[in-house]
């Protein structure tokens, strides 16, 4: 049977191709290598399926890929994989458009023109790696290993450890991750003593109160929570459960709530404390938990006899409903209703994220929200929240550092301020960029980069200048994007359908799990796994750097982890009939579920089914739940106090005369005394006189801007707003009427940083004092489907950060809007 390229495109495009074809014509959608077309021409039309893990977002969904003659032509959710149980988001369905994308980098490139000139030449892997290794060896020889930076994105699990090992063995303290999700554990560290994000028992709760947590769209694993939420809604009919959503904008989660409560951006913490006020005054809190498992609720005295303010008296004096109402614009009556529901409908659960915490006061806001869970005594309780046990299996032996590495690793990271004062967080683009531009604390010679911070971050112009200054920049991305246009080399990784990887213990997912990502097809082009590239470079550097990688390939590392899981005897391969309750039944009796005759059998079954999981929760003592100095939930954070005290000591060491108060001013704290260490509301300092607050958010179809080069995702981009291939600005109809703006008008959105233009979407689901623009579009690079479509709202956001965690404050910029003529 003769198959033309067009036939094949139809076959692999399926529904997605057909949709996209409406806009762009079939041949533009995907670019299929001739060898695959030949396979289909000459094959016997044999259908097979392979399991893997979707790599298009960090959600970790299991998928099954359909192959004809070993050529991927379609995919669906893996029904056995416990995270998504057969479900999939729209992005996952577009995975083949990434694999067959016509704009992929097909082999190693060396830039031959100016930065951003787009002039590249193909080189061999050996030439590229030889040049890079020589430079790295030279730096080590000169005692400058620390002048190498690895700017990662959202790596987790084994890949994160792999890069950390490389950097540690090489001798640089400069491995940072730029994904926001990596840095949002700080409020949990302050209150719990560890940064583990809890998993929320939505299935068994009767009331969900969400402070801006758009878990159906923007959470760590939206499909996992969508599954849980659908069960919650089903059960809600019988047990009268409800979901209340608080946010300035009605997101997808808000639209699925029983009640949406609009609030002023940046005031969520005040509302949480207003709710705490009612819980305390009406004695609706868990007195046993507060008495035995919390610290700093009541006023207290330290060892020196000094009296300290407790959470209760702070809340009772400063956060009464009328006052909170004046801050938040939420009526007092509503505050009372929410608090009484929360206190009386048990079990009830409180979540906080995105909309609530993407601001300068995000850390304190999350502390205030999390305090509500403490008041409800929700820890390790059905219908409350749990912490997932650390997996029992090991990954690798520790890294051995030689003398060069030891010295290098002891240097101050380039992300820290060098004036003796360093904020609490590990990384911010602002400090990183300023340091590189000023060669502080030392110049940077080599930058490895994954991801696209010049599109995703704030401070883009300055960051571009900083990258330009670095002599050797190496990117691992599979596409040319805004950031690697400045690189000297692009060493393209495979797409996820072509590579080995793993996806384990996604934060907030309620069980230990290990999903295996296996190549469903041989790499289509001359690309290499970044893990293998680092091993190759390490071998070229030799010595202890090479010894840090005892395995020949990244796949072997994964196999080693799998072997350790196999030996642990815990959990089971995810398959039909392996429900959590059954695992628990067996484990209570000391059995493991799997009868795997050998490691090979375990490995093969893992590849066939797609993953392993262990849903059994170990019962924990209070001291295991809370790792704070008191061993309890800390309303008064002793860790935060210690951090600030240590910063002050550092200042003294450098002969600074700054006292603690001035230190706090430097961090822009308005609070004084004990309030600093307690959850409280800090006003957001808007520097501009513009009238509207700009809110940005992510959509399920394009969470971090990386799906912009998938035509199906462009075609579906704003499916809830019926807006495709373009951005829009959401305006409350009241404000639009005042400005004479109607639906679909072109509108200028202007901040003190810049101006962008987008079509108006009149939306009653946004408060009148804000406008909303989705993040994801507005690329100036990243291929034919991404470049030139829509606008990037981060380009007009001011460079504000959370005062403590360093996370970008995405909702702290004011704008004005006007009709574009």
């Amino acid at each position: 049977m003769e198959i033309s390229r067009r036939d094949f495109i139809k076959l692999v495009g399926g529904v997605s191709g057909a949709i996209a074809a409406g806009s762009y014509g079939l041949n533009q959608i995907i670019d299929i290598p001739e060898k695959l077309v030949e396979k289909l021409k000459n094959g016997h039309r044999i259908e097979s399926w392979k399991s893997t893990i979707c790599g298009l977002c960090p959600g970790g969904c299991g998928i099954r890929v359909r192959l004809i003659n070993d050529v991927p032509v379609g995919l669906k959710g893996n029904q056995y994989y416990p995270i998504n149980q057969g479900g999939m988001c729209p992005t996952g369905h577009a995975a083949l458009q990434q694999l067959y994308n016509p704009d992929r980098v097909k082999g190693p490139l060396k830039r031959i023109g100016l930065q951003k000139s787009g002039k590249w030449k193909s080189i061999s892997w050996d030439d590229a790696l030889s040049t890079i290794s020589k430079k790295l060896i030279e730096l080590r020889k000169d005692g400058k290993s620390h002048q190498t930076v690895f700017l990662g994105y959202d790596e987790h699990g084994l890949m994160k450890e792999h890069i950390s090992r490389f950097m540690k063995a090489y001798g640089s303290p400069n491995y940072f991750q730029t994904s926001h999700a990596q840095n949002n554990s700080i409020p949990f560290i302050f209150t719990q003593g560890h940064g583990l994000r809890p998993t929320y028992d939505i299935l068994n709760t009767k009331l969900i109160l969400s402070f801006g947590a758009n878990f159906l769209e923007e959470g760590f694993s939206p499909i996992y929570y969508t599954k849980l939420f659908s069960h919650f809604k089903e059960a809600a009919k019988e047990r009268e459960a409800k979901f209340i959503y608080i946010d300035s904008r009605m997101s997808l989660s808000g639209a699925n709530a029983d009640r949406w409560i609009p609030i002023m951006p940046g005031t969520f913490g005040a509302l949480a404390l207003g709710i705490a006020f009612v819980l305390i005054r009406e004695e609706l809190f868990d007195k046993e938990f507060i008495k035995n498992h919390s610290f700093g609720f009541e006023d207290w005295k330290d060892n020196s006899g000094n009296k300290h303010l407790g959470f209760k008296n702070l809340v009772l004096s400063d956060y009464y409903p009328e006052k909170v109402s004046s801050i938040t614009n939420v009526p007092s009556k509503t505050i009372l209703e929410i608090a009484r529901d929360l206190g009386n409908i048990r079990p009830s659960l409180v979540l906080g994220d995105q909309g609530a915490v993407n601001n300068t006061n995000g850390t304190y806001t999350q502390m205030a929200i999390h305090s509500l869970n403490a008041l409800l005594g929700n820890f390790e309780k059905e219908g409350g929240l749990y912490f997932i046990d650390k997996p029992s299996y090991d990954k690798f032996p520790p890294v051995k550092e030689d003398s060069i590495a030891k010295i290098g690793n002891q240097r101050i990271p380039v992300s820290k301020l060098t004036d003796g004062f360093s904020p609490i967080f590990d990384f911010s683009f602002e400090i990183f960029t300023k340091n590189i531009l000023s060669d502080q604390p030392y110049p940077i010679e080599v930058l490895f980069i994954k991801g696209n911070p010049l599109f995703q971050s704030l401070y883009q112009h300055e960051l571009a200048e900083a990258i330009k200054k670095i002599p050797l920049v190496i990117s691992f991305d599979s596409f040319i994007n805004e950031t690697n246009e400045y690189a000297n080399y692009i060493l393209p990784d495979h797409t996820f359908l072509e590579k080995w990887d793993e996806s384990s213990n996604i934060p907030t997912v309620g069980f230990n799990h290990f999903g295996i990502q296996q190549p469903v097809v041989e790499p289509l082009f001359d690309t290499r796994h970044t893990g293998d590239v680092l091993i190759d470079i390490a071998k070229r550097i030799n010595g202890t750097v090479a010894l840090a990688f005892p395995f020949e390939s990244y796949k072997d590392e994964i196999h080693n982890v799998v072997e350790n899981i196999y030996k642990s005897g815990e959990g089971a391969i995810a398959s039909e009939g392996v429900e959590g309750v059954w695992l628990e039944y067996l484990q209570q009796r000391g059995w493991q579920i799997g009868r795997y005759a050998s490691l090979d059998e375990f490995w093969n079954l893992l590849l066939e089914k797609g993953g392993w999981w262990n849903p059994i929760k170990k019962k924990k003592l209070s001291s295991e739940i809370f790792k704070t100095p008191s061993g309890k939930f800390e309303f008064y954070s002793q860790i935060l106090k210690d951090k600030l005290d240590s910063l002050n000591k550092n200042a003294e060491k450098n002969k600074s005369t700054k006292e603690t108060e001035s230190l706090l001013v430097k961090l822009n704290f308005s609070a004084k005394g004990d309030t600093i260490f307690l959850p409280h509301h800090e006003n957001v300092l808007y520097e501009d006189n513009f009238p509207l607050i700009l809110i940005t958010y992510q959509l399920l179809t394009n969470r971090n801007g990386e799906s912009s080069n998938l035509p199906l995702m462009q075609e579906m981009f704003g499916y809830t707003m019926r807006q495709y291939w373009d951005s829009w600005v959401e305006i409350n109809p009241v404000i639009a009427a005042e400005k004479g703006i109607t639906d679909g008008n072109w509108v200028w959105i202007e901040s003190s940083v810049g101006t962008i233009k987008a079509r108006a979407k009149l939306f009653p689901g946004i408060i009148p004092s804000a406008v909303g623009i989705p993040f994801g579009l507005g690329h100036t690079s990243y291929g034919r489907y991404a470049k030139g479509f829509g606008v990037n709202p981060t380009s007009i956001i001011k460079n504000h950060y959370d005062l403590i965690s360093g996370l970008p404050a995405l909702h702290a910029t004011k704008v004005k809007i006007s009709l574009a003529t």
Partner: protein
């Protein structure tokens, strides 16, 4: 005519031997759990509290009996079950032969898996059994044997028995020297001790055994030479107690307890005969015990003459009339009764039609005991062979 009767009589005498090994030992009896869930049995029946509560919980320490005994329990409650399917609008599942074997094998296996232990009971036992005369825990006890903390990560109780068994000869010698009473194990003793010791392990490490594989167990039973003294079937054995004479319808740790309790006698005999002590590694003890446990799974051969008579008495013949004259097919020409599993699978799958017919005729559901099942199978098998 007399000759024919004689031949038939001889045939009936030899036919039981033809039934031997008709049910293959399952290598993974837990496979039936998948059937149990996929076919939605779990929606009505719980296993130790996990599952629905419409039907009885299937794991309450109950030994249900052999394959056909279990099948008879299922058969007898088919009308009740089918009424629930209709009431709850749940699709009634059909089973393949393999699924039927796996399902019944799984239910049979539940007793073997045992029950969870009690920490407080374990603490008491550790003190009363004299374990602390040799072992230490939490600084208490003596250092003659290994510190219990070191073995606390071995979460399977059967690991504990296996370890004890392997160092049995040394332990017995020391016990004698110390003038102690030999500690015997019964009921959930070892489970309780294990869960108590589990409290002292650090980290998350928990080493577990896989539930036993009867097929491996059968091989090991020969390899470890257990068979030299203990006959698994009714043949006479030279030395040890015949296994048919021991109640093996117990959980794995209870059977392990029996093994442990008889080890002093066994050791004495082996010393006299200069036989080396058999030790076990990995999953071996669990496998051997699974084999012993599954000895009771396959049914004793039935009586085809009685079977023919039951076939008539229960009214089966009224529908399954010879020559295909009845409402239902003539079973004698179906040639489908190669194994009891096949018979039970067909019986289950055809039950709804039969139910409708019985209801229309105002008849009662034909209840069958285990023995009646065995006899009917023997009869159907016979007529199939005859044909």
């Amino acid at each position: 005519m007399r000759d024919i009767r004689y031949i038939t009589f001889i045939f009936y005498l030899i036919i039981p031997n033809l039934f031997a090994q008709e049910i293959k030992l399952p290598s993974n009896p837990l496979a039936g759990q998948i059937v149990f869930e996929v076919k939605k049995c779990i929606e009505c029946h719980a296993i130790s509290g996990f599952g629905g509560n419409i039907g009885p919980d299937l794991s309450r320490k109950y030994y249900y009996g052999s394959f056909l005994e279990l099948a008879s329990i299922i058969w007898n409650h088919i009308p009740q079950m089918d009424r629930k399917y209709r009431l709850l609008k749940v699709e009634r599942p059909n089973f393949t032969e393999e699924e039927m074997l796996n399902l019944i094998g799984f239910i049979y296996y539940l007793r073997y898996l045992g029950e969870p232990g009690s920490v407080s009971e374990g603490k008491k036992l550790l003190e009363t059994k004299g374990c602390l005369n040799c072992h230490q825990i939490k600084g208490q006890g003596k250092k003659v044997g290994p510190d219990f903390k070191k073995i606390a990560e071995y979460t399977s109780p059967i690991y504990m028995v296996q370890a004890m068994w392997n160092h049995g000869p040394i332990m017995q010698e020391r016990i004698k020297k110390m003038g102690m009473k030999y500690p015997t194990l019964s009921g959930k003793d070892i489970v309780n001790i294990t869960v108590y010791l589990r409290q002292f392990t650090g980290g998350n490490t928990a080493i577990r055994m896989s539930a036993g594989n009867p097929v491996n167990g059968k091989i090991l039973f020969k390899e470890k030479k257990c068979i030299n003294c203990h006959s698994p079937k009714s043949e006479t054995s030279n030395v040890g107690v015949k296994l048919t004479g021991i109640d093996l319808k117990k959980s794995v740790v209870e059977i392990a307890g029996l093994m442990w309790n008889h080890s002093p006698l066994m050791l004495e005999y082996m010393k006299v005969k200069s036989i080396s002590w058999p030790s076990f590694t990995k999953n071996e003890m669990a496998d051997i015990i699974a084999y012993l446990y599954f000895l009771g799974f396959e049914d004793e051969p039935g009586d085809p003459i009685k079977g023919e008579s039951i076939f008539e008495q229960k009214g089966c013949i009224r529908c399954h009339e010879s020559g295909g004259k009845g409402e239902a097919p003539d079973l004698t020409v179906m040639k489908k009764f190669g194994s009891p599993i096949r018979m039970i699978q067909l019986m289950w799958n055809h039950a709804p039609k039969m139910e409708d017919l019985i209801l229309s005729l105002n008849e009662e559901w034909p209840r069958l005991t285990k023995t009646e099942m065995q006899d009917i199978y023997a009869y159907l098998k016979k007529v199939t062979i005859n044909k």
